[in-house]
């Protein structure tokens, strides 16, 4: 008797496994994988904070889509493209992950976006920076959410020339990313009527910027553009303060700066720095409300644009799954392009054919210590840059599948 019932149970189980649970949602669950840098150079600006943001999006959506549960998994790619690729492959092949979110580090982005394209899954890039992700290396199921090099370089470059900073000198990290950032900024500077007096390529990574700063000083350019990121930018800004560069009248333009970088520099050193950002927590009531909720879960830190972008991208994805009535990547991608993005992060944002989410950017200046009234009160917003002005126009696209269509 006992054996018989066990047999029946096994048979029932087999049946349950064999019959598709839902016609729309593959394997009965929508799984979101957050893949980023949990321990390395980018862990403060995305890392666990991005995972928390994605979890908040899932909670705010109600924890279920099309009646099926939503699950969040996360992993550390350690900024190694092979580990990233390995995780992505395993997530898709074995763990049935439907969408991969965040993705700092362009090398990892490129690898994972290709895998997602080949295996028909969605990837939502928030922290990755390079413009090629929606250009030369675009993917029909890959989306780029928060910012890109082009928007940052152009935003800061144009704005500073307008304010009178019309001669530039670049400190450029000597690798593809730095070159790219310098190029797009220099273009914006010359287009707005400024001139580039010169540039120096510093090794990557670089501890000591003093001699490069001295060269920048000797150039007598009004603006020193920092075409680097993370630790390099932090060191450059810190040492510029030490050498009295800003006091002597030259201005610094950080081309890729996150609020976490400002936090670690301190206002005394960072004051006056002009940056372009995709999001600022203290912009309006809506951003404040969300950021404070996030902050309560993250030991009082405030979200970077990358972390806020993860929330917005995840939310939009879930809405698109709902609208498409399926989690099949192409159907979801279609809906993602149709529905406008409207949340605390972006107003009337739209997802372009090439996967770029176009939304307004902010030009901000870092406050003086005496103007900062409370914790994380770091930016003064100088200007809102309309999305269409900020991002690379789609008419200049090099995206292969769009070119084929034409």
């Amino acid at each position: 008797m006992k054996r018989l019932s066990r047999l029946a149970l096994a048979a029932a189980l087999m049946l349950a496994l064999a019959v598709p649970v839902s016609a729309q949602v593959s394997d009965g669950v929508v799984k979101i994988g957050v893949l980023n840098d949990m321990s390395g150079v980018y862990s403060d600006l995305c890392g666990p904070g991005s995972v928390e943001a994605v979890k908040m999006a899932v909670e705010d959506f109600g924890g279920k889509v099309l009646g099926k549960p939503i699950e969040v998994v996360s992993a550390d790619h350690q900024n190694k493209a092979d580990i990233g690729a390995n995780v992505a492959n395993k997530w898709i092949d074995v763990d049935k992950v439907d969408v991969i979110v965040d993705l700092p580090n362009t090398a990892v982005c490129l690898a994972v976006q290709k895998i997602c394209q080949d295996k028909n899954r969605i990837n939502l890039i928030s922290t990755g920076a390079s413009v090629i992700l929606t250009n030369k290396n675009c993917s029909p199921t890959g989306f780029h959410w928060t910012y890109d090099n082009y928007a940052l370089g152009k935003g800061t470059g144009t704005a500073m020339v307008k304010e009178g900073g019309d001669t530039w000198f670049f400190l450029t990290a000597d690798y593809a990313f730095g070159h790219d950032l310098e190029k797009s900024t220099a273009e914006a500077v010359t287009k707005s009527g400024g001139t580039v007096k010169g540039s120096v390529r510093h090794p990557f990574p670089c501890n000591d910027f003093s001699s490069f700063l001295l060269q920048a000083q000797a150039s007598k350019a009004k603006v020193i553009g920092l075409a680097n990121a993370g630790g390099d930018t932090i060191n450059a800004v810190k040492q510029a303060a030490e050498f009295g560069i800003v006091q002597a009248g030259q201005r610094l333009a950080g081309l890729l700066v996150f609020i976490s970088d400002i936090h670690s520099l301190g206002l005394k050193t960072a004051q006056g720095l002009v940056v372009t950002t995709g999001f600022y927590w203290d912009q309006n009531d809506e951003t404040r409300a969300w950021s404070k909720k996030w902050s309560a879960r993250m030991n009082g830190r405030m979200p970077t644009m990358a972390q806020a972008g993860c929330y917005s991208a995840t939310m939009h994805y879930l809405k698109a799954v709902q609208a498409a009535g399926s989690d099949e990547a192409k159907a979801v991608a279609k809906k993602m392009r149709e529905i406008p993005v409207n949340d605390f992060f972006a107003k009337n944002g739209k997802v372009r054919e090439d996967g770029r989410m176009v939304h307004d950017m902010l030009l901000a200046q870092v406050k003086k210590p005496e103007d900062s009234k409370y914790a994380w009160d770091y930016y003064k917003i100088l200007r809102v840059i309309p999305g269409d002005e900020a991002y690379k126009p789609i008419s200049e696209t090099e995206c292969p599948y769009l070119l084929e269509k034409k």
């Binding site: 949990m38 321990s39 862990s43 996360s74 992993a75 550390d76 790619h77 350690q78 900024n79 190694k80 493209a81 092979d82 580990i83 690729a85 390995n86 995780v87 492959n89 395993k90 092949d93 074995v94 580090n105 362009t106 090398a107 490129l110 690898a111 290709k114 390079s130 290396n137 000597d174 690798y175 593809a176 990313f177 090794p203 990557f204």
Partner: protein, 316 residues
């Protein structure tokens, strides 16, 4: 000997069946690192030279073969050969420089030279800096077998791995290998016996670099990318760890070590910086307590049980 007669066919059968049980991409990664560690062990275990810069050959060969396969459109076997040859050339030059000193100096020199390669790779245009060389085609083996399928790629990797292992065993077992061991035990004596020890060391170094290159080139094909990770000194440290953990100077030690370290990386990936701490901890424990490594300790246990006399040397 009896152990080998039974053991090797069993291992081979396991290796052939493994991809049906374990995720093949993981296995391929582990095999690439296993070959890398075996190549490294050839130098440390049999000549007594600790290279702290083997990532240079591993990573640079990965770049060359990735570039060859993607930009020049070479087939996988040619890309692999080209990567190996480049690593061999690099090994010849670096080895020639490094064997001028021994011991700790040798370790520091190889580390510094590999750091030079790293900075070169950051800046050289063909490596695409931080982005790496992406979407490298796996291609068709000899124009016939499509390697995009994970299973066929796995068997290709396994075949190359076994070939590499056989080359190492052949080198170690030959008179050449005997001279190497003599150098490890007592270099002045080997010199006085009339051996040009520098030449032997250089040959071993070059062979080791070449095989490390094969492993790196293969990894580039498996993951379809070559990136800075593989030329970074962390990779050099990892291969030392694998060899030490598995057992320096044993044939299968580095293989066991490679599988364990890769498994730690893969399965503990979400733990972030803890992976570094765990790796550091393993280093410390191995050096202080298990200097023979896992395989070495097992062999030692076996030997003691059968109360064979301890081997001459085998350890330092």
């Amino acid at each position: 000997m009896r152990l080998q007669k039974i053991g090797i066919p069993i291992l081979l059968a396991l290796a052939l069946a493994a991809p049906f049980v374990v995720y093949p991409v993981f296995l391929m990664k582990a095999l690439c690192f296993a070959l890398f560690a075996c190549a490294f062990n050839l130098l440390l275990g049999y000549v007594g030279l600790l290279s702290f810069g083997h990532a240079a050959y591993f990573g640079f060969a990965a770049y060359v073969s990735a570039h060859a396969a993607k930009v020049w459109g070479l087939g996988p076997e040619l890309a692999l050969v080209l990567g190996t040859l480049t690593a061999m050339g690099l090994g010849l030059v670096f080895g020639w420089l490094a064997i001028r000193r021994s011991g700790i100096y040798f370790a520091m020199i190889t580390l510094a030279l590999s750091q030079m390669v790293f900075f070169f790779c950051v800046q050289a245009p063909f490596t695409h800096g931080e982005d790496g060389i992406q979407a490298v085609p796996r291609g068709r083996l000899l124009g016939l077998i499509d390697l995009t399928d994970n299973l066929s790629m796995y068997y290709f990797v396994l075949a190359v791995f076994i070939l590499g292992l056989l080359i190492i065993r052949r080198a170690v077992g030959s008179p050449f290998g005997q001279v190497l061991k003599a150098i490890r035990e007592n270099e002045p004596r080997a010199t006085s016996l009339g051996y040009k020890t520098d030449r032997y060391k250089l040959m071993a170094f070059t062979l080791s670099a070449a095989l490390a290159g094969t492993a790196g080139a293969m990894k580039a094909l498996v993951f379809q990318l070559a990136s800075l990770t593989d030329v970074h000194w962390h990779a050099s440290g990892e291969v030392v760890l694998m060899t030490l953990l598995g057992g320096v100077g044993t044939v299968f030690g580095p293989v066991v070590g490679a599988f364990l370290v890769v498994a730690i990386q893969n399965y503990l990936a979400q733990m972030g910086a803890w992976v570094t701490i765990i790796q550091g901890g393993i280093f410390v424990i191995c050096v202080l307590i298990f200097r023979r490594g896992m395989v070495g300790e097992v062999l030692e246990f076996w030997r003691r049980r059968n109360s064979e006399p301890p081997p001459s040397g085998g350890h330092h």
